[in-house]
Amino acid sequence: MPSAEIAVPRAAAPLLEARGLTKHFRVGGIFSRHTLHAVDQVDLAIHPREIVAIVGESGSGKSTVARLLAGVYRPTAGEIFHHGRALSQMRSRRAMLAYRGRVQMVFQDPYSSLNPVYPAARGIFRALKLHRKDLGRDARRQEVLRILESVGLTPSREFIRKYPHELSGGQRQRYGFAQALASRPETILADEPVSMLDVSIRLGVLNVMAELRRQEDVSFLYITHDIASARYIADRILVMYAGQVAESGLVEDVLAGPKHPYTQLLLSAVPDPRAELDVTAADKGEPPRVIDPGEGCRFRWRCPYRIEICDRVTPALSPVGPGQMAACHVAAGVAVGESSATAAPPASGR
């Protein structure tokens, strides 16, 4: 089944694509047989100049997806394609380095993402040395200054000398972006880049991302648990639960008309003081089971619409609206019932 996430035709082919991405960890010691299903059968695509958000709670697998795409973990199953070339085919160090030059990453914790022993800008210098070998020493320094300016760390001549302990959290995150930009990537995987920053500083960093997309043609995969910030900068959204994609589509569509019960729960729980909330605190927010989960929908324990098939068959992503997909038997059934023209019947579980 092709990764038909969006019905709206895109002119360009995807930069980065994942099909059936799966990552399992063995837990419980060397001889145990239990597996933790961190990520299961995830499809996603990132196109040029696009910001895709992955939204989920902790344990949903969103950070693991980022690390799989960054090449930090190797997938248990499934494949990642970069401009159509499979990542598993890239054996040589040179190929991997070239990939890293195109796909970079920004990390969550500003207090642990910079090596405290060196000046914060050192990572930028190293990245240039590794990926832009054509630059001589002076050109390299000029480039570092230019990149610092582009993320708002001015005057760059002062910031190039600073050590991490002299910087605030927001500033450290900007260095993280600067390092990621050094190799002139097409895609930056941003793993919760603002979650650990003060509220009043978050917007500044998010605005930097939007500007980078506009000025430097960088696509972003924005991973977060904060659905409001996802709406703020992203074009498309994937909602993840228990290692699987629960719903995906254009941001405005999904937020205006969530089809998966988990998305609905998530939206109802977001504290938006300007809106009138309707109530229920029945759901206590218990984390999902990802160790040896077995067949069946992983959300069924908390789902108000649970039906018999939910216990037996793991739902697959199926269209529930123009450009919107959800992995839910009930939502798919409703969609099939409603639409006359489109949609194949929901695929049964694998």
Partner: protein, 315 residues
């Protein structure tokens, strides 16, 4: 256009969890700290004296330490500050020259043991899994083996070889303690994002270990080195005292050996034993003092709170 960040915002308001290695970034502060710490100053002074003694031995020592040219068993006098041995050698000269071998053994064996500790500890932590298991078992085995009997066996088997045998023996029996300390710290670093950031940047494993991990562990490595050097000095002295070193070489340990063999305490030249004994103790103490100071440097929680002067009276 881009959200600008003014320079005066650089001074952060949150406490900085700079961690143990942040001091590498501020060498001036390190120097000041070490000099202001009384323990460290004392330790450095004593160690400094011994190092000077060892380096300038030919100029400081009045006589050739091996020369049996003098009257035996002389009491301390103007010509012989510490008297002479029962073979007629000047004890003071022997003491001066002996510093060389003692310091060399302590330093080199300490370095060797530390290098082994770091190698095993970091490799186990970084590679994890089965390798970690195996290396940890090996470390535990070496920890549990009683050092002295092992040293005796090895030294005896090598038939009382000289300095290098001692160094080997000490390194082999002394590395496990350090490895056991290095592994957890390396493990705690392993999940820090800056390591992943380096990998994502494209660095290879060797680079990451040497340039990203090790610099963050310097204070621990220095502390381990000091501990290992202390252990080496005492172990070498002990082995030489028993006679397992090369008795023809001059060091504080061999002085003890010869003094003991000639019943120096009873026969009127007690300084033959007491002087090298005191020096060994002082050297050990100086290393321990410096160790305390380095510990405090790396772990601010250990610093005794000093009330600053000129505090405002409570309102």
């Amino acid at each position: 256009m881009y959200p600008e960040v003014a320079l005066q915002d650089s001074v952060p308001s949150e406490a900085q969890p700079g961690g143990r290695a942040a001091w590498l970034a501020r060498p001036g502060r390190v120097g000041r700290f070490l000099l202001s710490n009384r323990k460290a100053t004392l330790g450095f002074v004593i160690l400094g004296i011994f190092i000077v003694m060892a380096i300038f031995a030919p100029m400081i020592a009045p006589y050739d330490p091996n020369a049996t040219a003098f009257l035996p068993t002389l009491p301390p006098s103007h010509d012989h500050f510490l008297g002479t041995t029962s073979q007629g050698q000047d004890i003071f000269s022997q003491l001066i020259w002996g510093a060389r071998q003692t310091l060399l053994i302590g330093g080199i064996a300490g370095l060797a043991a530390t290098a082994l500790s770091v190698l095993v500890g970091v490799t186990a932590a970084y590679l994890g899994g089965l390798v970690d298991h195996i290396l940890s078992v090996i470390t535990d085995i070496f920890l549990v083996i009683p050092a002295l009997p092992l040293m005796l066996v090895i030294a005896a088997y090598a038939q009382g070889g000289g300095m290098w045998v001692l160094i080997t023996v000490i390194a082999v029996t002394g590395w496990s303690f350090g490895a056991r300390q290095i592994r957890p710290q390396a493990l705690s670093l392993r999940h820090r994002d800056f390591l992943e950031s380096a990998r994502v940047r494209g660095e290879n494993s060797a680079y990451i270990i040497v340039f990203e991990i090790l610099p963050n562990m310097i204070s621990l490595i220095v502390a381990i080195f000091l501990g290992a050097a202390l252990y080496a000095v005492l172990a070498a002295a002990g082995l030489q005292f028993i006679g397992l070193g090369n008795a023809d070489e001059i060091s504080w340990g061999t002085m003890l050996y010869w003094g003991e063999n000639n019943e120096a305490l009873l026969s009127g030249s007690p300084l033959w034993i007491m002087a090298p004994g005191a020096c060994i103790a002082l050297l050990g103490a100086s290393v321990a003092l410096i160790n305390y100071a380095v510990d405090e440097l790396g772990n601010p929680a250990l610093r005794t709170a000093r009330r600053q002067r000129g505090r405002r009276a409570a309102g």
